[in-house]
Symmetry: C2
Subunit: 86 residues, 2 copies
């Protein structure tokens, strides 16, 4: 069993209203150093028969294209965490 | 300006209904290798005057405790991406 982690973020050009609200809330709580906040998703996938890492990454990228991400406004990053055999 | 990334995930013992639905949807789309899916949040923070990395990580952990995460059901991981000066 291989664990793969996908980070899905809004594209830089897309306004993140949720992030703006959280940024203001942090400031209101006294964290004045915060300049910007952007919020995305982390998706952990456990895959069977995924010995070929390159093949697996391609498959996960395809999952992002068809279901996990919205390619119009989001970008994704696929990585494999070493030694995770949960 | 320093960029810090926080990953917020449900604790292992907490059932992830959203992840289960996405797992089934991926299977229905033909991705039969998917055994489990868990979904969390990735939060990117841009911080001013954050030269001291240890101090910054402590501050971000505090932000997680008071606002970003729910420590009862979620766990968080703070990391700093090198060379990000956006």
């Amino acid at each position: 069993m291989r664990r793969v982690t996908v980070l899905i973020r809004l594209k830089e050009t897309v306004d993140d209203a949720q992030g703006r609200v959280v940024c203001q809330a942090l400031k209101d709580l006294g964290f004045s150093a915060v300049a910007q906040v952007r919020i995305g998703k982390v998706i952990d996938l456990w895959l069977e028969d995924a010995d070929d890492l390159e093949q697996t990454k391609k498959m996960v990228a395809q999952m992002c294209q068809v279901l996990l991400a919205n390619p119009v406004i989001e970008e994704f990053e696929v990585w494999q965490e070493e030694g995770s055999q949960r």
